[in-house]
Symmetry: C2
DNA sequence: CGCGCAGGTTAACGATCGCTAACCTGGGGG
DNA sequence: CCCCCAGGTTAGCGATCGTTAACCTGCGCG
């Protein structure tokens, strides 16, 4: 037990998580064996179990971490905003930025979350629900008489719009960034 | 070989395809064994091979069929429209209707298409590309100076918005239908 | 009437996968 | 100086899966 600060960069763990994100995104959680994952990290096969309790645990840590981060930053963006309009713009901006910088994670999150062990799945679902409600609350401030269920559906639709990006290839990132923000805001804001 | 019209309802095949769509949507292609699929059809295990050459072939027929149908109806909607605005509204309407009536297929299509055998995957990709370009062409008529790449990205984003629905639960279908059409059109049409 | 075949059955094989066991090794702290 | 353990290795087990093989059966047609 070194005196280094708690949770100091254990590079191997992080390398495994990053590599796993890419592989899972490319071939699906079930399409990647632990041997594949190990090989892609320069080690091989069962050496993974020195860092994670199971293959599921890799997925779990990956998805729980990003769900927490999405919610956490989302909350600070809302807290920092002056009104609902600014809050929503902050949320859209954050989500687009995240999706463009972590395409692999976005793919894995909404393709493979059902492969999570039960407890992690429940945790992720709970975090996502809070994140959705963070958006929904702002939407209800902006649209008169919008009920919670419809607001949640709007938030989901906006996530779908923004998260669709990783699938698409060619458009360069800055243009895509602007395009997504424009489209999302038009879809979410009441017509002027 | 009966004298019934070619491809008259071979109920078993269709039952298998419909059941497979639901199971694949719920647990993922790799999460459903042929034994599971057989059992859900009232038969068991290898009896499937009397109707399909392989498990992959079930997925392939499912996804090729819906890709063809999406493109086919999309084209007639465009042909039937008087101008680009009407064409785009027709496309949005058709896609929303399809997504709401075939939620399972939508989920499988964009989660499990990578599990397709190479030839079917190429066919599906080609059909999807044509479908995207059908949308993109209308978008370019509506937005001055929009290049093809950006138009394709817009179409992808709209698909993401509309296809996000199956994931969401509670909102009753008619409200969801209207909500999605409104949001998609606001995102896609140039600001008035 | 008989017979063929569509459409089932169960048994079993080979591959693959997640994971465990048992063993090795080198470098840093007591 | 020695020893301990973090972090690797290879071998192999047990389960599961897709698929094939071999066999059965009842219905429709000649």
């Amino acid at each position: 037990m070194a005196t280094t600060r708690a949770e100091e960069t254990p590079t191997r763990r992080e390398q495994i998580l990053a590599t796993a994100a890419d592989l899972f995104a490319a071939r699906g959680f079930h399409g990647v064996s632990v041997a594949d994952l190990g090989a892609a990290c320069g080690i091989s096969g069962p050496a993974l179990y020195k860092h994670f309790a199971s293959k599921d645990a890799v997925l779990a840590e990956m998805l729980v971490t990003i769900s927490e981060r999405l919610l956490d930053v989302g909350r600070t963006r809302v807290a920092r905003a002056d009104d609902a309009d600014a809050a929503l713009r902050g949320l859209v901006d954050w989500h687009v930025e995240f999706a463009l910088h972590h395409r692999a994670l976005i793919i894995v999150q909404d393709r493979d979350w059902e492969s999570l062990p039960a407890d992690a799945r429940e945790r992720v679902r709970s975090l996502q629900r809070e994140y959705v409600d963070l958006w929904a609350a702002q939407l209800r401030l902006l649209h008169d008489g919008l009920d919670l269920t419809a607001a949640r559906a709007m938030a989901h639709a906006a996530f779908g719009l923004i998260n669709s990006t990783p699938r698409t290839g060619s458009l360069p990132d800055p243009s895509l960034h602007d395009l997504l923000i424009e489209m999302a805001l038009r879809a979410l804001l009441p017509p002027a």
